[in-house]
């Protein structure tokens, strides 16, 4: 294996970024060690290591092109479908390396759900959208069980009251914010442990955004959430931990309240205060 071309190094004040040490008795939900990511020959992520505890919200922030979305997509191997994409390093979910040999990617993705930047409901009815994952994973034991699971998911996504009378109408008739909550409901329906959100509110107005943020806050009791966002206020509002990416590096990973009040790295501080780029 060739040594990867180095990315320009961020100027880091401390000798290394020290992620918040989890309490010893907490099992790690996600444990990434020395992850490198390549698009063809181009190195996009260099030596990322991060440990994420269960039932917390972790926000990835950083300028466009810093690799935060790419990193998010390595966590459920969504980059596999991109030709020429290559990963080195370990990504452990619940202690199992998802890039290891013999891993069932399809089964893994059921445990690690994803919500995309642009809402992508299937061109089917509202009900069928939520039922899709339940059906393909053969989770429902009967028709009424299926309906119950769909209702539960829609309630979890705070969409039930708005759609309960028109479950069999097209999902594409919903508003943008409703569509995004439908996509969240769809992801919740397959009972994942982890939900990856790639700028879930970037195309929504402030009110719809607020609803998504409230939703994230409620969901973290049952799920581990990783959210990529361009909006630093959003990261400050919804997350417990924040990771700052810059040019393919993880510069700082801290408790959100500490990161936003007293960041360790000068680079982080400059970014948070809008002083560069």
């Amino acid at each position: 294996m060739n040594p990867p071309a180095r990315l320009p190094r961020p100027v880091v004040r401390g000798s290394q970024t020290s992620p918040p040490a989890p309490a010893a008795d907490v099992r790690l939900k996600i444990d990434v060690e020395h992850l490198f990511f390549f698009y063809g020959e181009k190195l996009a992520l260099e030596d990322i290591s991060i440990k994420i505890q269960p039932n917390v919200v972790t926000a990835f922030i950083g300028p466009s092109g810093c690799g935060k979305s790419t990193f998010l997509r390595t966590l459920n191997r969504m980059n596999d479908i991109i030709p020429g994409a290559r990963v080195e390093g370990r990504v452990c979910v619940d202690g199992n390396d998802i890039y290891g040999p013999g891993v069932d990617v399809v089964a893994m993705r059921r445990k690690v759900g994803m919500v995309f930047q642009k809402s992508n409901p299937f061109p089917k009815s509202i009900f069928e959208n939520v039922a899709y994952g339940i059906r393909i994973n053969r989770m429902a034991t009967s028709k009424s069980d299926l309906a119950g699971r769909v209702e539960e998911s829609l309630k979890q996504a705070a969409l039930w009251d708005e759609v309960k009378d028109r479950l069999h109408e097209s999902a594409l008739a919903l508003s943008g914010g409703q569509q995004q909550r439908l996509c969240i409901a769809r992801a919740l329906a397959v009972k994942p442990d982890i939900i990856l959100m790639d700028e879930p509110a970037s195309a929504l107005d402030p009110i719809a955004t607020q609803r998504i943020e409230e939703l994230i806050y409620h969901l973290k009791t049952n799920f581990t959430i990783v959210i990529v966002t361009h909006n630093m206020q959003q990261a400050a509002r919804v997350s417990d931990f924040t990771a700052f990416f810059w040019l393919g590096h993880l510069v700082e990973y801290e408790r959100t309240d500490k990161m936003f009040t007293n960041p360790t790295e000068k680079l982080t501080e400059d970014y948070l205060t809008g002083r560069f780029g």
Partner: protein, 285 residues
């Protein structure tokens, strides 16, 4: 702010191009209008209930119809669709799913070439591989020839329509734990279905009007037949036979046959559009 008026030369040029476009449309529609006008005006005179209920009468006997040919055309196109729709759609899925692979490019090139092969050559091919081994003309051979013509049309249409489906839908399905095949057949193909239906019917409409590949495959039959292993009559071949005959009555029958064929094609197209629109409406497209 200094807003200059558009120079007159530019306005004239614009008007000229818009005019040219309009003229082009009119010129393109004139042949269609004439074809329809002649087919309808000539065909209606000989069109009556007998035309749909009776078989051709021998020379000299006035009257008769094309019942056998109408049924024959329906059977032939039905056979062709049975062969071509599954093969065409599956190859289209392959072409769009593995679009980067060398084999897919080869298949794509082959499909485009096959699409450009003159239909009479397809007829000769069907003659060689079906008629000769069976020893006689048959409905099967005709359906086979028409099916071969349909496959590349359906495959390429399906491919292009599948490529229009946003990648986000594929990712959405995969993220829920769908396998690749599941994602394709439960999300991507259904999303493109209205277009695929339209494509299939347009292909059907095209091959329903083919004469050349039928001349030495299904040949013709003066009698009513639904047998797959016997020669069968078709509207196009019947129209061809009547049109080159020296009999005035047969000429009239040929016009009527042409009108029926055009009507069948038209009804199919409209049905396909309605079906596609209905499928689309359910999905809110």
């Amino acid at each position: 702010m200094n807003v200059r008026r558009t120079p007159p030369a530019r306005k004239i040029l614009s008007a000229l191009f818009v005019g040219a476009c309009g003229l082009g449309v009119v010129v393109a529609l004139i042949p269609l209008a004439f074809v329809l006008f002649f087919v309808i005006s000539q065909g209606v005179q000989s069109l009556n209930l007998d035309f749909f209920l009776h078989n051709p009468r021998p020379v000299g006997e006035v009257g008769g119809g094309m019942a056998n040919a109408i049924v024959g055309t329906l059977i032939l196109t039905g056979l062709a669709a049975t062969l071509a729709v599954p093969i065409g759609i599956l190859s289209g899925v392959y072409l769009s799913e593995y679009r980067g692979s060398r084999f897919a490019s080869t298949v794509r090139f082959a499909a485009d070439t096959l699409n450009g092969v003159p239909s009479i050559v397809i007829g000769v091919f069907a003659y060689a591989v079906v008629v000769l081994p069976l020893g006689h003309f048959s409905t099967l051979a005709g359906g086979f020839a028409l099916g071969i013509m349909m496959i590349p049309i359906i495959a390429r249409t399906t491919e292009e329509l599948l490529l229009l489906v946003p990648n986000a839908l594929r990712e959405g399905a995969l993220a829920l734990g769908a396998t690749r095949g599941r994602a394709v057949f439960s999300v991507i193909v259904p999303a493109a279905l209205p277009g695929i239906i339209t494509g299939v019917v347009l292909a059907l409409a095209r091959i329903a009007g083919e004469t050349a590949p039928l001349l030495f495959t299904s040949f013709n039959n003066a009698f009513f037949s639904t047998s797959l292993t016997q020669p069968i009559s078709s509207i196009t071949v019947q129209v061809f036979t009547y049109a080159i005959s020296p009999y005035e009555d047969w000429h009239r029958q040929a016009w009527a046959g042409a009108l029926v064929l055009v009507t069948i094609v038209l009804i199919c197209s409209m049905a396909a559009r309605t079906a596609a629109a209905r499928v689309g409406r359910i999905r809110g497209q």
